[in-house]
């Protein structure tokens, strides 16, 4: 997705909204909102706007980084302080306390901080992972439903043709209806075994999207469909199936996957 352009309407001015007969509550909320200092407004905004990490690598918020840098500066300052004091008091008790107590304490503190930062990172990426997984499941379900609809279109068409005899014109009309009825269908074809359809030796009417509308052709004029997976595999097994993705050179001229369902008239594959 990309941002194309502004929608040409006024920017949304968003605030709280109160039912009309309780206007007094609106003024109360206004009073509270104006009593909140600017830094707090800013903090709330930053919390939610920076809360969503841009990428997997960038999952530490600016606040975290500033916090860490701040801690390190403090530690450095203290070490500096110790050195200054050491020069002042040579081998005094204070120095010994500094060296044996304060230094280790800050060493441990630094360790703890690094650990908690590392832990946060882990937590955030785990959270993102679960979000993404949930989303991909959601999309998978969505695509599943769409694909299921497409298989129904194909099997219904096959069922109709197993009993009814259509004129050439009617076949094209049926296909046009199939394609225009579902945005996810790029093209639809009916293919007959050689010499079944009387007017042609090989006949496969095909309707597909071209520019803004639909176009119709006989695939047999473009290539020998009998050897193509979408036809050959169903002819062999007599079962409906999805093809692998392929480039349809000559007919649709696009990358596609095809669902094929067998048409059987009186038990015979046609």
């Amino acid at each position: 997705l990309k941002i194309a352009f502004k929608a040409g309407i006024k920017d949304g001015q968003l605030g709280f909204a109160v039912r009309k007969d309780w206007s007094i509550l609106a003024s109360l909320i206004d009073k509270v909102m104006t009593s909140i200092p600017v830094p707090v407004h800013q903090k709330i905004l930053n919390k939610w706007v920076s809360q969503v990490p841009a990428t997997f690598d960038d999952n530490l918020s600016v606040e975290d980084i500033i916090g860490t840098v701040y801690q390190f500066i403090v530690v450095a300052l203290l070490i500096l302080l110790i050195i200054v004091l050491a020069r002042k008091w040579h081998q005094t008790l204070q120095l010994k306390i500094m060296v044996y107590v304060v230094l280790p304490v800050f060493f441990v503190l630094t360790l703890i901080l690094s650990y908690s930062n590392w832990k946060n990172e882990q937590l955030i990426s785990a959270k993102i992972k679960s979000q993404v997984t949930e989303l991909s499941h959601q999309y998978a379900r969505y695509i599943d439903v769409q694909l299921e609809k497409i298989t129904q279109v194909a099997t219904t068409t096959a069922d109709i043709l197993s009993t009814a005899h259509f004129s050439e014109q009617n076949l094209y009309q049926l296909l046009q209806k199939n394609v225009s009825g579902n945005r996810f269908i790029y093209g639809a074809a009916i293919a007959f075994e050689p010499n079944i359809y009387s007017n042609y030796r090989r006949f496969s009417p095909y309707v597909y999207r071209k520019d803004a509308g639909l176009d119709s052709i006989n695939i047999a004029n473009s290539y020998d469909y009998l050897s193509f997976e979408w036809y050959a595999a169903v002819r062999e097994t007599h079962h409906s199936r999805w093809s692998e993705p392929y480039f349809d050179d000559g007919a649709g001229n696009a990358y596609m996957v095809t669902f094929s369902a067998p048409i059987k008239r009186d038990g015979q594959f046609i």
């Binding site: 001015q13 968003l14 909204a17 109360l28 990428t55 300052l77």
Partner: protein, 213 residues
């Protein structure tokens, strides 16, 4: 003495960030008597929160509500010392119809429009965001509003921009959905050519790695 001062100095430096955080409350509100007595009579306030408008308002899978508005609601709740209750499980359209029937008292975030003023009183806006059109990344045929003529444009039912946008652009075919995510999905899956969306909300979904495809 010298050491004591140093120690205190260190302590202040060390704690400065957390002190800054706590120093924000307790500015007096100066409520009028009328306001005080109104508050005394109305202890419970029911608020409607859009479940699908991140990062401003949204509900997570566990049913809890979060977002910028929720942080403000917490502050208002504390400062006015009242009980603000979120009416859970409603879509935006349901929330809008309920506030008209006074089954909800407050909307946590709503845009100010003349039409809505008939039944709502708005506070001063605290968020201002542009409304934009988003399309598929490789779509080169839509560059301006006129290119949208005859195209399918996804928008969320009952969002404030719907009336103004459809009135300004009568040539478009509106495709109504329930949430901003559904609207973006409609574009990604080709059911719509474009989507009208609040820039902030759109960016959150895109940033959230939903649409790096």
């Amino acid at each position: 003495m010298y050491r004591l001062i140093l120690l205190i100095f260190c302590w202040i430096v060390y704690c400065a960030p957390s002190i800054a955080e706590t120093a924000d409350v307790n500015i007096p509100l100066n409520l009028t008597n009328e306001e005080k007595s109104w508050l005394a009579q109305h202890r419970l306030i029911r608020v409607g929160v859009d479940p699908a408008y991140p990062p401003y308002d949204f509900r997570t899978d566990d049913g809890n509500y979060h977002g910028i508005s929720l942080d403000y609601i917490d502050i208002i709740d504390q400062k006015l010392n009242i009980s603000i209750k979120i009416v859970p499980g409603l879509t935006w359209s349901e929330i809008m119809s309920r506030i008209k029937q006074h089954k909800i008292d407050v909307l946590s975030l709503a845009a100010d429009t003349a039409e809505r003023r008939k039944f709502l009183t708005f506070t001063k806006p605290h968020i201002s965001l542009p409304i934009v059109i988003m399309t598929q990344k490789d779509n080169d045929s839509i560059h301006s509003l006129t290119d949208l003529n005859g195209r399918v444009v996804a928008m969320v039912q009952n969002y404030f921009y719907v009336n103004e946008f459809t009135k300004n652009n009568p040539g478009i075919k509106p495709f109504f959905v329930a949430t901003p995510l559904d609207a973006l999905n409609a574009v990604v899956f080709g059911q719509a050519d474009g989507v009208v969306i609040n820039l902030g909300v759109g960016l959150i979904f895109v940033k959230n790695m939903l649409y790096l495809i």
